[in-house]
Structure formats: C-alpha cells, structure tokens
C-alpha cells in the first residue's frame, strides 16, 4: 500500500520502518512528535487529544496526496494518536520513502507542518493546577 493514514489510541513507533521500507527506496525519513515535559517553564502532566475523526482522516488523506503529487515518493505514513498521553509518549508519526533523500526529507517536513495547520485534532495541556486548550486564544 502506498499510503497509510490512521488515527489510533496508541502509536507503535517500531512499525513505521517496515511500513515505509521498499526496494526502490534509498531514503526513509520519519518525524515523531512526543509529549514534552515543560511548556513555558510549567510542568506538563499529560496531553489529551481529541479529534473529529471522519474529517481528520479526510484532511490527512489530502495532505498525503499533495505530497505524493509534489515529490517522487514510494510510500507515505501519517498516524496520529488520540486520548491521554504522558511525557515522552509518541503522539504523531509521519514519514515518507523515496529513491533519494531530498524528496523524503522535504516531504516529511511538509506532512507534519500541514497536519498541524489543517487537521481537526485538538490538544489540551494538563498542568498541576489547570488545563489549557493549546492555541485556542491569542
């Protein structure tokens, strides 16, 4: 399968190499987003993700298609997690494989940057004494 688009409860980062590996690909580039312990010097307990799943999958599909059109890629993976995630847990993995490295490096950056702009997924930061929806307010 050329592209894998999923929203899951738990991300297994070990799977992505096999999913992108391909006899025609000399390069595989992967980005993994994880939960960071501090936001503006405040300790984060967990992040909670929710999504409008049917639309999110559609938007991720559009991004993968745009990448496949723009670069010569053999395989693309886009996978996002939902639910509560603790520090160091992976929350998103995107990647691409191509004959040479330039295409997969550029495509990988495009996949994550565009996902963050358009895909209807929301995260709430849980601190010790409060919770905050990220990016909601100026």
């Amino acid at each position: 399968m050329k592209k894998i688009i999923e929203i899951v409860d738990v991300i297994d980062t070990a799977r992505v190499y096999t999913e992108l590996s391909d006899a025609k690909s000399g390069g595989i580039c992967v980005f993994v987003g994880a939960v960071r312990e501090f936001t503006n010097h405040e300790e984060v307990i967990a992040l909670e993700f929710e999504t409008y799943k049917s639309m999110a999958l559609k938007e991720m599909e559009k991004i993968a298609d745009a990448a496949l059109e723009k670069w010569s890629l053999n395989k693309v993976v886009m996978r996002h997690a939902v639910g509560e995630k603790g520090v160091e847990e992976p929350v998103v993995v995107v990647g691409a494989s191509s004959a040479h490295r330039d295409a997969c490096f550029e495509a990988c950056r495009f996949l994550i940057d565009t996902l963050k702009e358009t895909v209807p997924i929301w995260k709430k930061e849980k601190f010790k004494n409060k919770t905050v929806w990220v990016s909601a307010h100026p």
């Binding site: 929710e50 409008y52 049917s54 996902l115 895909v119 209807p120």
Partner: protein, 79 residues
Amino acid sequence: MNVLFFGITKDIVGSSEISFSDDFKPINVAELKKQLISSYPEFLKLNSLAVAVNSEYADDSVPLNGNDEIAIIPPVSGG
C-alpha cells in the same frame, strides 16, 4: 439541524452537539457563526472559528441544509 462541537467550543457550549429548531435554523455558515457568537460571546475570543459542512471546511457563503453534518472547528492543535 444538529451542530457538532469540538475542543474548546465543546467546553464553551457545554455539549458536543446542539440542535437548532426550524425557526432558528441558520441559512448559511455566516449566519450560523453570527447566532453562535450572540449566544456564546466567548467564541469571539478564539484565535479562529471555522465551520465544516459534511466534513469539509466551508466558507461563510456555504448554504446549510437540515441533513448536512455541521461541525464547529476551533483552532486546531494536533501534532
């Protein structure tokens, strides 16, 4: 007509779904936003407020029908 709410907008309205009766049914996206802002002024403080009709982003002029799936999309923050 039912409208779905996510993220912070779900907290603001206190529900993940609201029904509009026929008398108050907005005719398009702009009208829906206007009605929501007048009922929930907190919406004005958000960085952005988008609407999806049948799971596609819809601009202000898009008409709304009773059987459309309509969703309110606050600023996204995936990744």
